[in-house]
């Protein structure tokens, strides 16, 4: 059935739940559509004027329809309480502990993605929106010692496999939306807010990052960003390399 729906590959832990949920809803839809569809065709055939010239003023007295409506309500309640609400709470409110996850600040702009890693100390530089200038589009506080070892990359988000990724999404200009299809992640990046989002990749590889929210003339081609999922040792190497390249200063200084 999932193949029939045409759901694409899924490579994150919670992604399977998303697919499961989509599947269940489609079962309900299919049942209703096929059920009523068959009824519909039958009725049109059986009660055509040619065959049934005299209509019945009262119609049917059956209560089946009430049961069907009741059943729809029950199934919807079941999907809500059993799936949507608790699962949503898990992806939205119950964030993984920062210590055990790869933390990344994701900053969208027209039309590219910037990623900020906390570096060795595990602490990000402070950000204050009133400090934003074209030279300091993230509003980083320049003399914050935590920022000295931050790592900044453009369009390159690299994370280790099997470990939760905790992203903090914000935007410099207009609203964008951070979407990785295979990870079943979609989250708007809204200027003025810093919205957490998390997922646990289960498969190494390279994934295109989509921008799902209309963000201007370049929206369709905001496609240079990639998520690279590496094994832990490869990831450690990548971090070391980046830290040496950027001289640890990439985060805080822009001048």
């Amino acid at each position: 059935m999932k193949e029939l729906l045409g759901l694409p590959v899924v490579t994150s832990k919670h992604g399977h739940d998303v697919d499961q949920m989509i599947l269940l809803v489609h079962y309900l839809m299919l049942a209703l559509f096929v059920g009523w569809g068959l009824y519909f065709i039958y009725v049109l055939f059986r009660f055509r004027a040619g065959k049934n010239p005299k209509a019945d003023y009262h119609g049917t007295k059956s209560h089946v329809s009430t049961y069907v409506e009741g059943a729809v309500a029950v199934v919807e309640a079941f999907l809500l309480i059993g799936f949507a609400i608790p699962l949503w709470a898990k992806v939205v409110d119950q964030l993984p502990s920062p210590k055990e996850s790869t933390q990344v600040r994701i900053i969208a702009r027209q039309f590219a993605w910037t990623f900020l890693y906390a570096g060795k100390d595990g602490e990000f530089s402070k950000q204050e929106m009133r400090l934003v200038t074209p030279l300091n589009p993230m509003g980083l506080v320049a003399d914050d010692p935590n920022g000295k070892d931050d790592i900044k990359t453009d369009n390159d988000m690299t994370v280790p496999v099997g470990k939760p990724v905790l992203g903090y999404l914000s935007s410099q200009d207009v609203i964008h939306s951070f979407k990785i299809i295979a990870m079943r992640v979609t989250q708007d990046a809204i200027p003025g807010l810093r919205i957490p989002t998390h997922f646990t990749p289960t498969q190494e590889g390279k994934y295109q990052i989509n921008c799902a929210q209309l963000c201007g003339g370049g929206h369709a081609s905001m496609a240079q960003g990639y998520l690279t999922v590496l094994s832990q040792p490869d990831y450690d190497q990548w971090v070391a390399k980046k830290a040496s390249e950027g001289g640890g200063a990439a985060g805080a200084t822009f001048e």
């Binding site: 759901l7 739940d17 839809m29 009824y39 004027a49 409110d93 200027p191 003025g192 807010l193 799902a212």
Partner: protein, 607 residues
């Protein structure tokens, strides 16, 4: 006033002639342009809206070319576009910016300038006063002003295409900060146009509600109202109470654009210099809340009148009463109420917490139940009928599964957890087009074929009508069904290249999760189907104009053997509608009443 009588062209009733003559004479302008007669205004609304419907469709056909063949010049009219839009359509190639403009205007035109005026303005004006037995609307002059505001709003929107910098380009949703950060004055025009359109709708809504409450003929109790009138009544309330917040939001965004305020602009924006010295402190989400507070009730504004039309046509052509009329009325009222508290299901992915999204998805699921009830009632009404398959009925019948499909696919969007994958994909596009295109538009087509003889005195051609129906049905599905498949595979909406940049072919070698070739190929398929859909409208357009003068003349005032009051007037109804105020003695759908001499008993007749 108990004796509301009127004179008519056909049956000039003499003693009133002198008092009322001056209403009718007064030249072409007074009669067709500045008329206060609800039927003339209805026709004005109808024609204008149909023209906009066509225009919205044309914009989309051009966009579909761009989606199917990104980067290629548009054949035939490419040169013309280059002439009008300059660098935006260089060498006849539609630029992404122009694509965004057309997209925003397609949505705006279709929703606010085509469907609402057609469903509410045109059908409401033409049919509601007749069905309740009223001589006109409660406020005829306000009715005229309402149309004029609509026309003015439409003109502002049209003009905006040709101003330097072009028209609005931030989607019909006009999210801030994008809507404020783009160059040019397109958005300012859009907002001005919207304020006019909203004013028009508000005036219309006041008028409709007052008319339905006050001008019902004697004996026309609430539960004897035709279902169509109920649908329009609830629609009126939706417009009346949901539109003002968008008007407020529109004024605020206008201030952001023109006066440099920061209602929807947060501190620390760094959009390429343009917003450098704003004060900040605003909230982009505030706009979204105010927009969708209208946006969701608006979708029921689009669907309820269509459901009303379908109900009328189904009752008439099954020759039996609507099954569960009362539950349908209560369900409609329930939809009206609940539709005000579901809006944030469009905003699940703006960073909503669990509690609030639980609230909104619960209300979203609750509102699907009355829709199910209405549809079920119409389905069951078919049971035991003597179904006539004329053109209006075919469209009405096709409406049911099409709306069903659209409505059902609203469910996976309504659960926030499945929306994570489907949000902003073509699945959403397919969902709502199934409700508005083969749904609402089919309902409206049914209404046009059904009430045409009342207005024109002639029937539309059945053969052309059936050709129009079958071709439209087939092509509609060929256009919109593939979009479900594309959406499920993750193809995003509002992509000027149809998602080509995200396809496996264009993405970095070896990357996972791109769109397969098959999805991209579907684009061209869909576009061709859309153009086919356009061809399928030719029989309709011919039929529509040809029948005005050449259609089969109606031989009775009641060609469909219907029960409701609009068929109890002369054809076409004179100014003032009824020769004598009707006295209503029964419910709206006494078809095949046992013991009656004919298979229908009009509302104002004793069997």
């Amino acid at each position: 006033m108990q004796t509301t009588s009127a004179h008519s062209h056909a049956h000039g009733s003499d003693e009133h002639h002198e008092n009322h003559a001056h209403h009718d004479e007064g030249g072409f302008l007074k009669k067709y342009v500045f008329s206060t007669d609800h039927k003339v205004i209805g026709v004005q609304y109808g024609i204008t809206a149909l023209v906009f419907l066509l225009l919205g469709f044309i914009l989309m056909m051009l966009m579909r070319f761009q989606i199917a063949y990104p980067g290629q010049p548009i054949p035939i009219i490419g040169g013309l576009m280059a002439h009008f839009f300059g660098p935006l359509a260089d060498k006849g190639i539609m630029s992404p910016t122009l694509y965004n403009m057309f997209g925003a205007m397609h949505g705006t035109i279709m929703v606010f300038l085509a469907i609402v005026p057609l469903a509410f303005g045109a059908f409401g004006n033409l049919v509601v006063p007749l069905q309740i037995g009223a001589p006109d609307m409660a406020f005829p002059r306000i009715n005229m002003v309402s149309y004029q505001c609509f026309a003015a709003g439409g003109i502002v929107m049209l003009v905006s295409f040709f101003i330097p910098g072009g028209t609005a380009q931030s989607g019909w949703t006009s999210y801030s900060p994008l809507a404020t950060s783009v160059e040019g004055h397109g958005q300012t025009f859009w907002l001005t146009g919207m304020v006019l359109l909203i004013t028009s709708s508000l005036l219309g809504a006041v008028n409709f509600i007052a008319t339905i409450i006050q001008l019902r003929a004697p004996g026309m109790t609430w539960m004897r109202l035709p279902f169509f009138v109920w649908a329009q009544f609830v629609t009126g309330f939706l417009l009346l109470l949901a539109f003002p917040p968008l008007e407020a939001a529109g004024l605020m965004q206008l201030a952001d654009n023109v006066l440099g305020t920061s209602f929807f602009l947060p501190t620390g924006l760094a959009v390429g210099g343009r917003l450098a010295d704003i004060s900040g402190g605003g909230s982009p989400l505030l706009w979204q809340h105010l927009f969708w507070f209208l946006g969701h009730p608006e979708v029921y504004v689009l669907i309820l009148p269509a459901i009303g039309i379908v109900s009328e046509v189904v009752a008439n052509n099954t020759r039996k009463p609507l099954w569960g009329y009362k539950s349908m009325v209560y369900a409609t009222l329930a939809i009206g109420f609940i539709s005000f508290i579901v809006w944030a299901h469009h905003m699940y992915l703006t960073g909503m917490g669990t509690k609030i999204s639980t609230f909104f998805q619960t209300t979203t699921m609750i509102i699907s139940i009355p829709s199910v009830i209405i549809l079920t009632c119409i389905f069951i009404s078919l049971w035991g009928g003597a179904i006539r398959f004329n053109t209006p009925m075919l469209f009405a019948l096709a409406f049911l599964p099409m709306f069903g499909l659209g409505g059902l696919t609203g469910l996976p969007l309504g659960f926030n957890y499945s929306d994570i994958h489907l949000h902003d994909t073509y699945y959403v596009i397919a969902h709502f087009h199934y409700v508005v295109a083969p749904g609402t538009i089919f309902g409206l087509f049914a209404g046009i074929y059904y009430w045409y003889p009342k207005v024109a005195g002639r029937m539309m051609n059945e053969t052309l009508g059936k050709v129009h129906f079958w071709l439209s049905l087939i092509f509609m599905n060929l256009v919109f069904f593939p979009m479900f498949i594309q959406g499920m595979s993750g193809m995003l909406r509002r992509m000027s290249d149809g998602g080509a940049m995200y396809s496996t072919a264009k993405a970095a070698a070896g990357s996972i999760g791109g769109l397969s070739d098959r999805m991209i190929e579907l684009n061209a398929f869909v576009s061709h189907a859309a153009w086919g859909l356009a061809l399928a409208q030719i029989p309709f357009i011919i039929n529509f104009f040809w029948s005005i003068s050449h259609g089969k003349k109606v031989t009775s005032d009641n060609p469909w053997d219907a029960t409701t009051l609009e068929w109890q007037t002369p054809t076409p109804p004179p100014h003032g509608n009824f020769l004598k105020t009707p006295e209503v003695v029964r419910g709206p759908y006494d078809y095949s009443l046992p013991g009656a001499s004919k298979d229908f008993v009009p509302q104002n007749q004793n069997s």
